[in-house]
Point group: C2
Chain length 103, copies 2
Amino acid sequence: MKIFDELQLSGEEEIEKASRSLRAMSHPLRLKILCTLSETEKSVQDIVDHVGTSQSNISQHLAILRDKDIITSRKDANKVYYRLGDTRTVSLINMAKNVFVGE
Amino acid sequence: MKIFDELQLSGEEEIEKASRSLRAMSHPLRLKILCTLSETEKSVQDIVDHVGTSQSNISQHLAILRDKDIITSRKDANKVYYRLGDTRTVSLINMAKNVFVGE
DNA sequence: AAACTTATATATAAAAACGTATATTGAGAC
DNA sequence: GTCTCAATATACGTTTTTATATATAAGTTT
């Protein structure tokens, strides 16, 4: 049917795009970061405290999420605040929550 | 708020579980396989034809998805038919489609 | 037995993760 | 201004994981 076809993830580019985003989300630390950010924007240090690994490691993971436009940042003084990038990202996180919580 | 808390992906195990599933979905070939299977169950050879790589490679990817309970299989004669594993998997694929299609 | 379908073992290549060290940027003290 | 401290990013090397090709095994059908 029509509706179904429209919902197909078909084109090569669409597949690639989706899989890049999913891959970026799929690392435990990055997923934690994203869940943390779904509440409210946070500074890098906040994230480090919540998630619990080295500052450098967090920063590297943030770079990965940033490169894929999954999160965005704003700089205030010498701190950098991160938040979920766009509606699509928010949907993704909510989707993950809905699907995985309570199993 | 309450509802929000309930939707949090919080426990370490929950995070690990979600990220394992997401990672399994996040390879382009595996995502293609899953999309293909969202229509209807298919034999390995069907999948090879649809997705387009070697039989061995497909089989290896199927093993990964199978190990994570994302797909299940049934054997009929000398063919093996795969389909999406459970409701959770179907939700995941549908949500991925919803999120990524039409961007 | 020969042909077919699927799975697996093994080796290699490629990519990702992480630690350590270092760079950058901004703010405040002096 | 420049020194210093704090916050964040990046570079680089090493280890671990993942992907894939090639070859082969195992089970089924004819």
